[in-house]
């Protein structure tokens, strides 16, 4: 790791002030991606502004169907929150399968979405749930927040402070893990709202998370795995690497969608 200067922010305003001091300062949340990247010198920020001690950014609020999750909430807390489980078990289940227990104790939802790894799990949930990303400057619809591989709509001094969504009637998430990294090689989140079905895919798209119109159309007719028999999704714009071709990922999208629907229907 190259030399770095550490700052501990006590509030969001303090963090914004601190990040402006450094030449190439970065916000640090759980550090589960940034620190490994720094250790291998793939990232070399001049300064780190630690957001983990900002009390306002922590915790989960559930009011009726409305869920607000502070950006500094860890995956472990999302996975084990009983109120959240009661209204949207799929979201907790997704968090319970990120990384491993030690990673879930440190990694945060805000850090994960701000990083927008194309194989991360949360982006699929946020798109399928039509969630809103709250920052220190504005509120951004999830669909406009994730803009490409590791790219988001965030400005340099903008901090994700919370995520909001309305719990759907039914939801489910299933992923096919890369056997080595355990990241989603394809992950599908399905959500059945009042009027529509939304399906988002992570781990497979060349530009990161996306909605699958084909799966949505089929599930809108009948929210059941049987509705996906014979349904195909185009392999165009899907990732191809040593782990899986784009055709293979296209097949995985359908299979994971079937499993996710089955889970959603319990």
């Amino acid at each position: 790791m190259y030399s770095v200067t550490y700052h501990r922010a006590s509030s969001v305003a303090d963090a914004v002030k601190l990040v402006k001091k450094g030449e190439d300062a970065k916000f640090l949340s759980g550090g589960m991606t940034l620190l490994p990247a720094m250790k291998t010198r793939l990232a070399a920020p001049s300064d780190l502004v630690d957001l983990c001690h900002i009390a306002d950014m922590k915790g989960i609020k559930v009011s009726g169907k409305n869920v607000t999750i502070g950006a500094g909430t860890t995956h472990g807390e999302v996975a084990s929150n009983e109120k959240l489980k009661a209204v949207c078990a799929a979201f907790s289940d997704l968090a319970a399968h990120i990384g491993d227990p030690a990673v879930r104790h440190k990694g945060t939802i805000g850090g994960s979405i701000a990083n927008n790894d194309p194989a991360a799990d949360y982006p699929a949930a946020l798109i399928a749930l039509d969630a809103t990303v709250v920052t220190n400057k504005r509120e951004i619809a999830a669909a406009k927040f994730f803009t490409g591989l590791f790219e988001t709509a965030l400005k340099d001094d903008e901090i994700v402070t919370a995520v909001k969504f309305t719990a759907p009637a039914k939801a489910g998430y299933e992923k096919f893990r890369n056997p080595a990294s355990r990241y989603a090689m394809t992950g599908v989140f399905v959500a059945k709202g009042k009027d529509d079905v939304r399906v988002a895919v992570t781990g497979a798209g060349e530009d990161g998370v996306f909605r699958s119109k084909e799966i949505e159309a089929a599930l809108s007719k009948k929210f059941d795995a049987s509705a996906l028999e014979g349904v195909t999704v185009p392999a165009k714009n899907l990732m191809a690497d040593i782990h899986a071709s784009s055709d293979y990922r296209a097949a995985l999208v359908v299979v994971m969608a079937k499993r996710a629907v089955a889970k959603a229907n319990g």
Binding site: Y6, R8, L35, K39, T40, P101
Partner: protein, 166 residues
Amino acid sequence: MSDVSLVVNGRKVSGTVEDRTLLVHFLRENLELTGTHVGCDTSQCGACVVHVDGKAVKSCTMLAVQASGSEVTTIEGLANGADLHPVQVAFKENHGLQCGFCTPGMIMTTVDMITRHPEGLDETTVRHELEGNICRCTGYHNIVKSVLAASKTMAKGSKGKAKKAA
């Protein structure tokens, strides 16, 4: 450079370190607590797992300055003098280790796991929970056995305590 002060295994410690110093290096090199191991250095193997404020974390993926102000427990902090912790006993009795390199991390992960699952553990849960700890000797079978055995003895222990308290 930054000053860090924390409580490690119940003892107040402090030091001045480069901001880039990882917690694991602070523990091993400054405090000479070499029970915590560095296996992969890429956050995958779990040999460096310690507890920070009661939660299992990978000390190779946390800066010492991040941990400043926290309470840290390492493998050296588990035993009570010559009396091994129930998880240590279970690993010993069930041959849950061979070369022993991953063992400190396995044991710290296990203690955390048992604490988070007071309802008890089954094999599937144990294997899922051990996802972040790699062992290249045992094939995990006896590690899983050790965890299940420790979970049972610790449940008995806490029931015993509850009875006494009542």
